[in-house]
Structures are given as C-alpha cells and as structure tokens.
Symmetry: C2
Subunit: 470 residues, 2 copies
C-alpha cells in the first residue's frame, strides 16, 4: 500500500471510529503535513482520493470536510430474509454449482480451486497409512470435539502465527461451512439481528435463512473491505447479536482488511458486546510475504469464533474444517452431536498423518505461487478480450476476480446465457439479498489457462457485448 | 409371535383403525372361535391379554367391550419443546456420550455397537484401494446427491428386498442423522406439528428443537410399537406435517412393527396427507429369517422419506448415510449444500469399493449372529444379577435391552451414580420430553461379555438396591 493510500485509509478508519464526525473539517493539508511527516504531495493525493470516493467534500477556500452523512449502506429497514427469496437464491446457487460438476462446463463459477493443485499423491499416501493403522476404536477418538492430534496440529499452526489457541477450544467440523453454521447457532436465537457483508459469501445468507435470523447487510468494497462507519451505525441502531465476516481474501471481493482495520473491527464489536464469527478459509492463499493474521489475533476477550478448513488449500474432498470457539466450544460440540454427530474418522487420521510429514508448508508455497500466476494470466486474458467497459477488481490473494459490468447490464442474464455455452460464472445476485450487485460477477481464476479458457472468455465477451445498449 | 398374541394385536390394530370404537362390544369368544378358526383357549388367552393391557373391559355375563376411551397417550396439549429443557436434554445426552468415549468406562450407555464387530481389515483394504485410485476430480463426483456408484449400490440393496428405489432419489449424507435432519427440514416450517414416538430416539427431539417444531409424542411400547389408535387421534386433532418413526428395531425399545401394522401406518398417514420420515438404521440387525421391510415398501404415493446408514452395521467412523427422498430429493440436496456441502469423497469411494467385494452380506450374517448371542448373554447376566423387580424388555433384533425399574425408582439418578463407578447407561429421560420414562434405561448389549461387564452389572444391581424403599 502506498503512503497516500495508507493515509486515506487511516482517515476513513478514523471517521468510522467517530474521530471525525459528518460535517467535521479535517486537518488542513498544511496541518496534516506537519503532524504526519508526509510530503505535501502525498497528503494532497490522499485527500483527492477521499474526495473521489465521496468520503470527504472539498469546499473552496475552506478545506476538506467529512461528507455530510457517511454513506450508511447498512439496510436501514429490516432486511427480511424471506424464505421464498432464499429458496430462490439457493436454486440459483444450486444450479451454478451443479453446472460446475459437469466436466464439459468451463467452471469459472466454481467456489473451489482447481483440485489438480492439491497434493493428491501425498494425501493418498496418508490415506494408505491410515488404512494400515486405523483401529476399531479410532472412531471414538474422532467424536466431538474431534481427534486430539489433529486439534493439536491446528493449534500449533496458530502458534506459528503467534496466536494462543488451545486445542481444547477447537472443534473439528465438516468443512468451515459446518463450523460457521454451528457458531452462528451457538450465539443466536431465531429473530436475532446478524451483520453480514454486502456482498458476502452466500453460505452466510443461507445460514441466516435456515436459522431464521435477520440480516443487516453492511457495505463492503473491493479496495477497503467492510465500511466501518456503516458497521458502527448498524451496531448503534440495532441490537445485533453476531457479525459474520471474512477478514482475509473476502469472498467474492478478494479484499483483505489491514491489521489496523482488524484491530478497530474487534474493538468496535467488543464495545457493543457483539460476537465475531470470522470466516477465514482463504488466509493461506495470500500473495505477500506473510500470512495475514485473522481479527481473532486482536481479540483478548474471547469474543471471536474463528472458522477455517483445509478445503480451499489442501483437499476439498475430505470435508474437514474447524472452529476455534473459545468458551463456546462445548455448546458447539453439543450442536454438532445433534446434527451430523462427528466428521469421519479416517479423514481426520489422514490429515494428522499428512500434517506430520511437514510437507504442508512446501505445498502451500507452491500453491500460492501457482494461484498468483494463474490469476495474472486470467486477468491478462480478460483485460485483453473483454469489452473495455468491464472493470476487473483484482486482489493480491486467493483465486477470485470480481468483474463489474456497466450498471445497466445484468450478470444473471449473462450467467444463464453462459451456461448455455457451457461456461459457468458466479453472478453478483448469489452474494446478496438485494439487487446491488446485479451487474457484477465472480470468476474463478485458479484453472490452468489454455485454449478452452481463452475461448470461453471470447464467448463471454460476445455475450457481454450483446447486452450493450444500441 | 404366538397365535393368541397375533389375535390380540389384530384386535388392537382394528381398534386403531376404527373398526371397533370405544364402548363397542367385541365378538364373543364363541363368535371369535367360529370365524378365526382358532381354539377357544387361544381366543380366551388373547382377550385376557387385551384386558390386562386395558384395551378391553370384561363385563360379567355380557362380554368384552373396547375400553371406554382408547388410551390416548398423544400429549393432549401442545408439548412445547422448550429451548432450555432441550438444552438440558442435550447436556444429558452429551455427558452420557462423553462418558462412552472414555475407554475406562463400561459403555452400556453407548448408542453404537462394539466397533470390533465391524470388518476393519476389509474396510481398510478398501481405503487402501481408494488411496491408489482417487483422482483430483473424485471430489466433484461426491457432491450432492453423492457418488453415483454408491447410490446405485444402495438402490440395488433396496431392489434385493423387492423395493423400487431409483438411485436418482437417493442423497448421500453424513450418517442417517443428517439424512433425518434434512428430511425434517425439507417438509416442515417452524411451528409445525410433528409426531414422534414416546419414547423415541433423542436425535428426533433435538432435531425438533433445532428446527423450532412442536412435538406430539405418541405412545409406543416394547411389545407392540406405536399405538395406532393414539396416532390416529393425534392426526385427527392436530394439523400434523410429518411423522418421524422407527419401524424396525425401534430405539430405545427394540420393537419392530408387523408388516400389517406398517401397512396400516402408511395408509393412516396417507389419509391425513402426512409425510413419514422413516428412521431405519437398525433393520439389518434382525434375528429372524428375513430382513423386515420398511414402511416405505407399502407406500405407493411417495410420501415416505426412508433414512438409513452404514454406521450401525458396517462402519461408524465413515459417517455415511442416505435418504431415499422421492420427490424431495432436490430440496434435500439444496439443504445439504447449505449446511455441510457434502460428505467426504474418499469415504464414499471406500464404501463403493467395499460393497463391490460382495462381502457385506457375509459380514452382516455374522454380525447378526454375534449380536444375538451377546444379547442373550447380557440378558442372562442381568436376569441373574439384577433385583427381581427389574423388568427386562428384550426384542428379537438389534443390541439394546430396555430395562424397567420399579416406578418409584429413578434411572437418571442411577445413571449419575453409575458414571461415578465408570459405568454408563442411557436413562429413559434421554428419550422423551416428559417424565414418563424416568424409571427406565437402555442398555447396550453388543459388548463381548467378560469379567468387567459382569462386575459392572453387580455394581448396577447394588445401586438399584440402594434406591429400594425401606
């Protein structure tokens, strides 16, 4: 992040925290230069960015003012997650996912990375080991909270990041999805308000619907992540019980919150006594030097349930995830016992064996490099082949690109047409209860780039052009 | 079943179906002898049994009359499955199950059969095969509705029983528990009435609580199973949406409904347009000549969702079950996609491999024989060692015994005391929302009988005696 960007973000965060209120005059360029130690140029650039984003308003001869009212995109009236509406969304998601199962479809809509990037041979070796060592009693050791050696291995990975997570608070689940669902259920009652992002992982909306919770969708954007000002407003205005967020490589946007923003997020939620359910399945897929910490790292009060899995970075088919649930661990075990009983014992044992080989980090390193290369390739192709009006948002992590069509176009229509041409995409409609993202779609860029992919983009390009207004 | 028992049951069923109404005079002994072709003795015996059960009333010089009002044990007022109450039950179940995980505890309270009875070596061989043959794309083939070869293998087992179940209506789930939960969710809305048995598998009560459904508990007894008269009454009095029953080797009682009773059950539910969710996880564990059919076999209108698994008869740790969901299959796949996404791919593949070896039936044959022997052994020990007032209900299937203490005794107290002595049992309280079964407990008789088990029964006997009134 450049200096001016950091300053701009800092000011945005300060506004979010109420340091600057709507209508407040910000420090003048001169004052800012004086106490930031930055150049006049840098500060000027930062203020221009803020102005272009509508965060501040420039008044000639007077200075920069915080925009009259921060853009509160938290839905002001209750967003009822209507059952029918949700079923609609589900059918939608279902169709997109079903399409991804068809080997003849180019799976740009898939949520999973190319499974060929996973260390199949080594995992199979671990399976073979389990087939020699599993005993009749292994199953009992796999009951909630899950295999002890596996919980220890996970706790040790937290420790590598400098986080203190006890194996005793970890519960092994059927992927992160079960972890998130159980977490949400553990801390809410039907009818409670829950904050989600807009756009957000569709699984969150489905979970809310299933548990009869009410959604407050807080604006999130590809560059800065969740709008803390809006979040604060939502927390002030509603008796919110929990907040379900992706802090690293958010799905579908790809944005990762800055450490400072994570800290502010945690402190804001603690102030309002709101539990954070942190969906952190992509954090191993960073492109930078260091794995970003989850918000949980800043939580000293145990109000964050940190959910993750091996499904996006090691093996999708095992269906093994976990939640570091703090004081909710026991309740979550009970809830699991009621719904799926436990995850499969050989899968837990195979992971224990694999993690003991110490090859995980080598695999991850290669995986990250490949994903970064493939995303670059996909971006290049999209940039070259798609109509110029299509904006491509691209983050420095994960394997998703977030594409923005001109506002009058419709990505759901594009999706339908694309499926007819054996191409799947994930239209914005999947990621929201409203209509805000009707002209956006998510593209999975984890696939090896070849003739088929190139041709699929040409086809998408034609389909997009066919929506162009005469 | 003896002749007189069959006649008694027949009359009970007729009363349930409204052939004989409360207050009706039953055919005299002489008439019954004439049109049943049975002996005077047999008919007399049957009538005596009915009288002792309170089903009929004998009036001197007049004959036998249907009891003035059939004993409607369907809870007349809404049984609110209170959240707190349910959490209580869960804590209870949780503790019992946790205790069973402790290798130093004699696991009479366990719900699973001795895992040493499962064909570990052959299953491990299948795992080893999967470790050689799994490909990167296997995971996609495992997404809902689940691996096609596995669904075919299951459909073929239905076909062996003469049932027509298409692989297309089968959805692979995380054990039968997920199948049952998804089925219930597929056909109900929060607030709906659902019929369960009393006593019933605690998973049913937990599912109802989780989905905010209202329970109507219909009386079920160890000899005859669900009371069809009470069921009919409940269906007449309440707008019931679904009925969750175990028709074969009911948990905890062990009772299996007769074919005729299954037929009547299906027709009764169809009459009221009520979906049957059939929990059929123990049906492979019959002791008789033939595997009993599920009620689903009599359902020609597709109103039965038949749920089962491999967890009780082949392998607990794989966590693979299924539902034959008829027209609800698609909805169930959607619900699964929202909660656990899918079951693990290697586990599905390992089962496909194992089932292809054709060793399943040989294993089952041996398993059934061993369970029957062990239950006999356990019964013998209990019969010899427990105080004479303890009644042992014993069915001709599965591995549970259902023990009845004198009414003033308390099995929950016994359970607490037993745990302190490293013995778990499953007290009646686990199987009901009310207090009807406070003096009952379920005992898992699948364990190899040895000194430890014998000693545990002696301890239980002492604990029971300590509850005896002075």
């Amino acid at each position: 992040m450049k200096k001016y960007q950091r300053l701009a973000q800092q000011i945005i965060d300060q506004i979010a925290l109420g340091v600057w209120l709507p209508g407040d005059r910000l420090p003048s360029l001169r004052e800012q230069v004086a106490h930031s130690g930055m150049s006049f140029m840098t500060v000027g650039h930062a203020y221009q960015v803020l102005e272009s984003q509508g965060v501040v308003v420039a008044r000639p001869q007077s200075g920069y003012y915080v925009a009259p009212r921060p853009v509160i995109r938290a839905t002001p009236a209750p967003v009822k997650v209507m059952r029918d509406e949700a079923v609609d969304i589900n059918t939608y998601i279902f169709d997109v996912l079903q399409a991804s199962c068809d080997a003849s479809v180019v799976p740009f809509g898939s949520a999973f990375p190319d499974p060929r990037l996973f260390p199949l041979q080594q995992l199979n070796r671990s399976l073979a080991t389990v087939s020699k060592t599993a005993t009749a009693m292994s199953v009992i050791e796999s009951l909630p909270p899950g295999n002890e050696a596996l919980r220890h291995a996970i706790a040790r990975r937290y420790a590598q990041q400098g986080m203190q997570v006890s194996p005793d608070e970890i519960v092994i689940t059927a992927g992160a999805l079960e972890a998130l669902n159980l977490s949400l259920q553990a801390v809410t009652e039907p009818g409670d308000w829950v904050i989600v992002e807009n756009p957000c992982f569709y699984g969150a909306l489905q979970a809310l619907e299933r548990l009869r919770l009410k959604a407050l969708s807080v604006a999130t954007d590809p560059e800065n992540g969740i709008d803390l000002t809006a979040l604060k407003q939502a927390l002030n205005d509603y008796p919110v019980k929990a907040c379900w967020l992706m802090t690293n490589s958010q799905n579908p946007l790809g944005v990762t919150l800055s450490p400072e923003k994570k800290r502010q997020l945690v402190s804001l939620l603690q102030e309002h006594n709101v539990t954070l359910i942190e969906d952190d399945v992509y954090s191993e897929l960073y492109y930078g030097r260091e794995r970003p910490l989850p918000a949980r790292a800043w939580d000293e009060q145990g109000m964050t349930l940190h959910c993750s899995s091996f499904s996006k970075c090691l093996v999708a088919g095992f269906r093994i995830g976990w939640v570091a649930a703090g004081r909710h661990a026991r309740r979550i075990q009970q809830l699991q016992l009621m719904s799926t009983l436990s995850t499969s014992s050989p899968m837990q044992l195979a992971l224990v064996d694999y993690l003991a080989t110490k090859r995980y980090d080598t695999h991850l390193k290669r995986l990250r490099r490949t994903l970064a290369e493939r995303k670059q390739q996909a971006w290049q192709a999209l940039h070259t082949l798609l109509p110029a009006e299509v904006k491509i948002h691209r983050s420095e992590s994960g394997y998703f690109l977030w594409l923005e069509l001109p506002e009058y176009m419709n990505a759901s229509l594009l999706s339908e047409q694309a499926i007819a041409h054996k191409i799947s995409i994930a239209p914005g409609k999947m990621f929201t209860t409203g209509r805000a993202w009707d002209n956006y779609f998510r593209l999975n860029a984890s696939w090896a780039w070849g003739e088929r992919e190139q041709q699929a983009i040409v086809t998408l390009s034609h389909l997009i052009e066919s929506q162009r207004k005469a």
